[in-house]
Amino acid sequence: MVGAALALAGLLVSLYLWLWKIGALGVLACGDGGCETVQLSEYAMLFGLPVAFYGVVGYAAMLAVCLTGLHGRPTERAWPTAALLALSGGGVAFSAYLTYLEAAVIHAWCRWCIVSAVIVTLVFGTAVVGFRRKAWKRGA
């Protein structure tokens, strides 16, 4: 449940950044312009698509996996936890790379990107806890 709520929050944040990137929103509520600097940099695009779009897809997948894991018998819920672990682990690695770019290459901080990085790290944390609990139950 915690993972689903976090994934939804992450989905809203990445949706916000993506909608701004495609011109659907007027101004980013960012404070110091760092979000715009990062979002307008060359690193805000990957394979022809805005990086924020990958966030939208990733968080939507995490949310779907979390909701799937809430239903059915516990034995049937093992794969969603593993899937969440893989998805959020990839998200953490990607966010770490993006945070490195902000710090070392772009020299600007996008607050919403940092919020997203924190959220995906928390989702990963809940996935690790869930995975270990399931492993412990299987072992007991």
Partner: protein, 222 residues
């Protein structure tokens, strides 16, 4: 049973978060339209006023702070620029001023602003401005974009040797940085930003929205 109740409460909470988030995104749609009132004094004494097009006597002056590497600025120049020039500037209603605001971290922004300044030496700033924005995808990914700017210079009929000398010397770098710093001092934080007389508008605008502001400040006489 208790688990079913728990799940129901969870879904109600999740739906509430989704509704609040969607509402916030919906409200954020119009934020770019909110103007800020600013001090209309645009340039410090001795500073570079920017590249202007349109008559001094125009009732509306629009100052655009832009970065050549900024995708949104390119989008604005490509989609909205031609309409502005044809329907607002050429009709004498608007004087348009472009001010350099190269964003830190945009590695090719400064060479692009230098190329535009060098084209201005030969009276062709706006032609180079269009070349740079309309060919955005060709030079932004380049490790050495100068060769593209030389191609653009040839395409618009500049004296190539004079342009090359200017670009190599980087003699407008300090002026560009000073213009940018002045923008920062005035509170510019992102591109594109527009100052329409004493109103500041941040972010992309379509032609209709911009025209509405011009109409409000200088109504068309019947």
């Amino acid at each position: 049973m208790a688990q079913q109740r728990g799940l129901k409460g969870f879904y109600v909470g999740l739906t509430a978060i989704a509704v609040v988030g969607a509402g916030a995104l919906y409200l954020a749609r119009g934020r770019g339209a909110d103007p800020q009132t600013i001090d209309p004094t645009p340039v410090a004494a001795g500073g570079f006023p920017g590249y202007a097009i349109g008559p001094d006597s125009a009732p509306v002056t629009i100052v655009e702070y832009a970065d050549f590497e900024c995708g949104a600025c390119a989008q604005f120049a490509i989609l909205t620029g031609p309409d502005i020039k044809e329907r607002l500037v050429a009709t004498g209603r608007v004087r348009w001023i472009f001010r350099d605001f190269p964003i830190e971290g945009h590695r090719n922004a400064m060479p692009a602003h230098l190329a535009a300044a060098c084209a201005d030496e030969q009276g062709q700033f706006w032609a180079m401005h269009d070349q740079i924005f309309f060919n955005h995808g060709r030079w932004v990914p380049e490790a050495r974009p100068e060769r593209r700017f030389r191609e653009f210079a040839r395409a618009i009929g500049l004296d190539g040797d004079r342009f090359d000398d200017c670009l190599s010397s980087g003699r407008y770098r300090e002026r560009i940085l000073a213009t940018r710093q002045e923008g920062v001092t005035r509170g510019i934080g992102s591109t594109p930003t527009f100052e329409i007389n004493d109103q500041r508008m941040i972010g992309l605008m379509g032609y209709d929205e911009l025209r509405a502001h011009v109409d409000r400040l200088a109504p068309v006489q019947p």
